[in-house]
């Protein structure tokens, strides 16, 4: 009996250890961005190699984020035959597409977490891209998702692909032409950005495009379409969020015409909320019984704290900032590209130029607003672990700031290349994707 108890305890510990180290989708479990590590790196130098466990070159150009399951890191990329391609970084407002329509190869890669060794790679598709990309985006911008057995990669117009954890193609789907671009001129194509999410035994994909937008769920087992719901939407780039409320689970999307809640099992729309800004990119995050949705394409830059469990049109009327369904809201302060970070009792929102604002998550009161060190261009979303917040920049540095009600700058860690992808946590290891390399950053790495 006693031995049985010990075995159970050991088994539970093993499960917790495995769960804690997994990072199954964009920004990890529930898109929280919060890692479970207890001794994560704080200071390192990606150029000199200080506290870098390993560094490996990644072919192609992509802003999709790494994901982690067990000892494996999964990554997607798109390799242009034009080898001169790179990101056009910096703060600018151009709407034109990248001109690169040379033949590409779309790949899914698997790396060993401890050594950075390539375990397997699969070519999903080869050909000329069916749509163009934004100069800051890529032909592989959606982060893959996994449940440990199946890895699903979404390449927009080039299709949806499911692989086993060993790299065997299980199924693929063509979801049509994904014309994601500027609402004001559809010829300015930017490419898709929303990442797939897994709910139970389905993978859910948001396809907001210039015409005939929809959200759909496909069986992880064989790719069969389980449900599809049409959306009166224009292009959007936010990843849907699965939010577990007290009464039910909600699938939350942030798009230009409305923020919406769905039943993730059947795709039925539960609620809508507006207004939202015209080019929404940040993913909804949740905690404290609230769903936080931001977007930041001027002039509307809202932040909403939505209570779970409500139905119908939740739009606040008569100029008010709260209601039964909306705990608090703000008309300004929402971020344009980075997803906000809910860590402890504070909601951190960083804008594209590195101005960080911390809000009391429950009341919406702003606790501080501060430019992070020298500022710069911030596209990747921040992540957090063990009391620290991590902000990668296009300028090639990862800034570390202490979490808490008072702004406290900790470190500026050079990586030597632009970062537009959101990092992943693998326990105490920070997996960072730069323009050309994948880095594993760990405290006291040789």
């Amino acid at each position: 009996m006693k031995r049985g108890l010990w075995l159970t305890a050991m088994f539970l510990l093993a499960c917790i250890g495995s769960w804690a180290a997994d990072w199954p989708q964009f920004r990890g479990e529930s898109a929280s961005g919060v890692g479970a590590g207890v001794n994560p790196p704080v200071q390192w130098d990606g150029v000199k190699g200080t506290n870098i466990l390993w560094k490996t070159e990644v072919p192609g150009l992509a802003i999709s984020s790494p994901i982690v399951w067990g000892d494996t890191i999964y990554l997607t990329t798109a390799i242009s035959s034009d080898k001169t391609q790179k990101f056009r970084t910096g703060l600018y407002g151009d709407t034109d597409s990248s001109k690169d329509l040379s033949p590409h190869v779309w790949k899914v890669l698997a790396y060993d977490k401890k050594m950075g060794k390539l375990l397997w790679e699969q070519t999903a598709h080869e050909g000329v891209p069916r749509t163009k990309r934004h100069p800051k985006s890529s032909q592989a911008s959606a982060t893959p998702v996994t449940n440990g057995k199946v890895v699903v990669a979404w390449f927009g117009s080039e299709g949806l692909y499911a692989y086993s954890d060993r790299g065997k193609l299980l199924w693929k789907k063509d979801l049509g032409l994904q014309t994601a671009g500027w609402f004001f001129d559809p010829d300015s194509e930017w490419g898709v950005g929303s990442s797939p999410v897994i709910y139970r035994d389905t993978v859910i994909v948001l396809c907001d495009r210039q015409k005939d937008s929809f959200i759909a769920a496909f069986s992880l087992k064989d790719g069969r379409e389980v449900w599809r719901t049409a959306r009166a939407e224009i292009p959007s780039w936010a990843t849907p969020a699965i939010v577990q409320g007290e009464k039910r689970t909600e699938l939350v999307t942030s798009a230009a015409k409305a923020i919406r809640g769905y039943d993730p099992a059947i795709g039925k729309e539960l609620w809508t909320l507006g207004p939202n800004s015209e080019i929404p990119a940040p993913t909804p995050v949740s905690g404290h019984g609230l769903i936080f949705v931001t977007s930041g394409y001027a002039p509307l830059q809202p932040i909403y704290a939505i209570r779970t469990g409500f139905s119908g049109d939740l739009t606040i009327r008569d100029g008010k900032e709260s209601s039964a369904a909306i705990a608090w809201s703000k008309k300004a302060g929402g971020s344009y590209l980075p997803t906000p970070l809910l860590y402890g009792d504070l909601l951190y929102v960083v804008n594209n130029s590195g101005i960080l604002a911390a809000y009391d998550a429950k009341s919406g009161n702003r606790v501080y607003q501060q430019r992070i060190e020298g500022g710069g261009s911030f596209t990747a979303s921040p992540v957090a672990a063990a009391g620290h917040l991590y902000f990668p920049t296009e300028d090639g540095d990862v800034y570390v700031v202490k979490a808490g009600p008072k702004y406290e700058f900790v470190a500026k860690n050079p990586m030597g290349e632009p970062m537009l992808s959101t990092p992943a946590w693998a326990g105490d290891i920070l997996i960072v994707r730069g323009e050309r390399h994948l880095f594993a950053v760990a405290q006291s790495a040789p």
């Binding site: 001129d185 010829d187 015209e278 001027a298 002039p299 804008n351 130029s353 590195g354 430019r371």
Partner: protein, 262 residues
Amino acid sequence: MHRIAWLVLALIPVDLLAADLNEELLTAARKGDVAAVTQLLEKGAAIETKTAYGQTPLYLAAMNGHDDLVRFLLEKGASPDVTDTFYRAPMLTFAITRGHFATAKLLIEKGTGNPDQLLPQVVQVGNVELLRALLDKSRPSQAALDSAYEGAQQRNQVGVAAFLKKAGAREPAPPPKIDPKLLESYAGNYKSEGAPVGIKAFVRDGVLMMQAEGQGEFALTPKSDTVFQFAPAQITVEFSSPSSFTLRQGAMSYLFKKAVTQ
């Protein structure tokens, strides 16, 4: 009652047809397809039909630099004085900022826009031919001409500056001396309901400086106790009190108020 029902039924297909034609016209205009636009107009599509953002066929043709179609639509009587509902920008602004200068010239020759608002945009891109077309067609105010000249000088746009001088621009007057206490009273953090970013005002070495969030700082030249300019970007800042100012740039105007520190 029966007759009304028939009337409604008879009207629906016509409305749908018109909507389809108009949608096709907007698509053809976006692509610059003169033949398709001609056919669709002959079939009854509306020349001033609009997208959800208020863009007409001419607007779409202009912002994409389709000169032949712009010429055709102007000849057909399409209005060049259309402002969209999202950016609140005239089509000429997009033609200029996207580098479609031949298109911009066609619109300017048609006499569209306020010359005082257009001049800074044209000077900014430094295209002398476009500047000539604007000044041939309209007469900006002396203040706008002087301000554009000052900006061109500061940006070292020698050809543009010479052209403006020839057009009657005057040399800038030496800046007036401002009481340092008054200057210091303008310092602070400002916010505007209409502008997406806040602005910090501060004084450095006796010069009023400003910096918008995420952007570089710039020095303002005083024109009076309350009016300051940053000529290279054609920005005018006018203080109504030490705690509020109006920032003007081209057709845009924002009221900024000093933020209360939390």
